[in-house]
């Protein structure tokens, strides 16, 4: 009877779409990453594509940048999100307004955010540097300085994404039983102590969610960097995903696919152990 009502036919439409347009392409990218590919013909080239990715500075830079970007954005979102949330749950002045205004950027497209900040970060006319000049600091060339461009874009990413981290934390903190706090108050704990010994450890599940979500998001990211710097100046802010796109643009389809495979492996190698470490630490608490 079970097989009749819960027939596997029900999952067929979804699985066909998912399989054909996601899973199958992922699977065949493995063999195609060993080829020179023109979309109509392919020639087996062994490990050439991978060798190129690891030996050429303009491609190799993507690994380091992607790692920096992911660590930086997820780290800042994790810390700032927690601070914002801990502040907001105490219902200070204007908390509803503050939550709305920090969350709103997350539902605006990255292209719109990128275009806006390209203007704000202009070295000579941009509002940011004008404000800095007002208090006597000469502002840098945020997107034009090769040593700074990646950092500038990650800050914009944090600006856009910190609102989501905040609401996840708020939900986590709200689910902590009030009795814990009441018990602590009776013991005479200060608000700082309550924050460190109750709120922080008990919002670990929320924190893990934020870390994992923003870290994987950071590894895969492409749009903000592409809109703001195109990976430049030179190759200084290239990420794996923007390099994949550039190889695709140049018609190096095999090389681009190899980049994709490397990105899969990169994500699996970093995210799976991270997930394991995080969930272990959750249990031990």
């Amino acid at each position: 009877m079970r097989t009749r009502i819960y027939s596997y036919w029900f999952i067929l439409p979804g699985m066909v779409i998912y399989g054909l347009f996601f899973l199958f392409p992922v699977l065949i990218s493995f063999p195609f990453s060993f080829t020179r590919w023109t979309l109509t013909d392919w020639y087996f080239t062994g490990l050439d594509n991978f060798r190129m990715f690891f030996s050429e500075p303009s491609l190799r830079i993507g690994f380091i940048n992607t790692f920096i970007y992911a660590v930086l954005t997820s780290g800042l979102k994790t810390v700032l999100g927690f601070i914002f949330a801990a502040y907001l749950v105490a219902r200070p002045l204007g908390s509803g307004f503050l939550q709305s205004i920090t969350f709103f950027p997350s539902i605006i497209s990255t292209v719109a955010v990128g275009v806006t900040f390209s203007g704000l970060m202009h070295p000579a006319f941009g509002l940011i540097n004008k404000a800095l000049a007002f208090i006597g600091i000469p502002g840098p060339d945020w997107l034009g300085d090769p040593h700074l461009a990646l950092l500038s874009v990650s800050l914009v990413d944090v600006w856009r994404g910190v609102g989501i981290a905040t609401v996840i934390y708020i939900a986590g903190i709200r689910s902590i039983p009030r009795s814990y706090y009441e018990a602590a108050m009776i013991d005479g704990a200060t608000s700082g102590q309550r924050l460190l010994s109750i709120t922080l450890p008990l919002s670990r599940p929320a924190m893990n969610t934020v870390i994992l979500l923003s870290f994987i998001g950071g590894l895969r990211t492409f749009d903000l960097i592409w809109v703001m710097t195109r990976g430049g100046p030179g190759f200084s802010s290239d990420l794996i995903a923007s390099i994949i796109y550039k190889q695709y643009q140049s018609g190096f389809y095999g090389l681009s696919t190899a980049g994709n495979v490397i990105l899969f492996i990169f994500i699996a190698l970093l995210a799976v152990p991270l997930n394991r470490v995080l969930s272990k630490s959750e249990v031990s608490l």
């Binding site: 596997y8 307004f97 709103f104 539902i107 990255t110 292209v111 203007g119 989501i164 609401v167 994500i267």
Partner: protein, 275 residues
């Protein structure tokens, strides 16, 4: 005394946040109404002689009506994606929750890999070409469905747990077929999740830039985010028009946020935690 101190500090926080998160938006709103020369100075000031209508008109006219076409395509893309995605992922989530056996969990694992991995770009294009679907709105809908599928299945499956099996069996005894059971009884009960998925999908698909960039080239197919992107390369020194375009594009999410703030926030939290 301490209380007053505290209030002042809280006020300061409000000011800082308003500057950090509000000024960029105000800047866009101000600049969008300026003349090209006035906007070029990038001053943070009200437009001296507002010309919003002219600027909007020019944005809509530029590139042969690229922005309007982008709106039209994005709306179609979003609606069709939602229609297909909710139905197929609800069906999948339903069966996968009810049948917890080997095959089911293997399928679930395959679906969950999609939460983590990015799409394989060139092979997907190759397949679309093989199917004669490249570049069409239909193929873009299918790709958006495939990319949203893991998340939606996860939410539906999690929600199914709260719907008792007795209900299925009672319906069966009443002589309902499995299709009737699902579409007339289960699917309506899933409405809260469907609402979440519809809201999140519409934001994601409307804001999607990368996938249409790869999978939906062509001037006819331009989506709203690509139109802004093209606009940027074309008018990169006419900031008034650029910001007017940003404003136009941000209006739908803003209205959406105004109406569905609670659902959006709850949906994102629920989605994040279950994922």
């Amino acid at each position: 005394m301490r209380k007053i101190h505290r209030r002042m500090l809280e006020f300061l926080v409000v000011v800082i946040f308003t500057v950090a998160f509000g000024v960029p938006f105000l800047f866009v709103i101000f600049s969008a109404g300026k003349s090209t020369a006035e906007a070029a100075t990038m001053a943070f000031s009200l437009p001296s002689s507002p010309q919003y209508l002219e600027n909007f008109r020019e944005v809509f006219r530029a590139g042969g009506g690229m922005v309007l076409r982008g709106f039209y395509n994005s709306v179609r893309l979003t609606i069709f994606t939602i229609l297909v995605l909710t139905v197929v992922s609800a069906m999948t989530g339903f069966v996968l929750e009810r049948r917890r056996e080997r095959v089911g969990s293997l399928i679930l694992f395959l679906i969950m890999t999609g939460l983590m991995l990015p799409p394989a770009v060139v092979p997907t294009i190759w397949i679309l070409k093989g199917l004669g679907l490249y570049p069409t709105l239909l193929s873009m809908v299918m790709i958006e469905v495939a990319l949203g599928f893991p998340f939606a299945v996860l939410l539906y499956r999690a929600f199914m747990i709260s719907i008792p099996r007795d209900l299925d069996e009672a319906a069966l005894i009443d002589g309902c077929g499995p299709l009737y059971l699902f579409f007339r009884i289960i699917f309506p009960l899933l409405k809260p999740v469907s609402v979440t998925i519809i809201i999140l999908t519409s934001i994601n698909v409307y804001n999607d830039f990368v996938n249409p960039l790869y999978f939906l080239p062509g001037a006819e197919n331009v989506t709203i985010q690509l139109s802004l992107y093209n606009f940027q390369t074309q008018f990169h020194t006419r900031w008034n028009l650029l910001f007017a375009d940003v404003l136009v594009i941000a209006v739908p999410p803003f209205l959406f946020y105004l109406f569905f703030r609670r659902q959006i926030v709850e949906g994102m939290v629920a989605g994040a935690i279950k994922a």
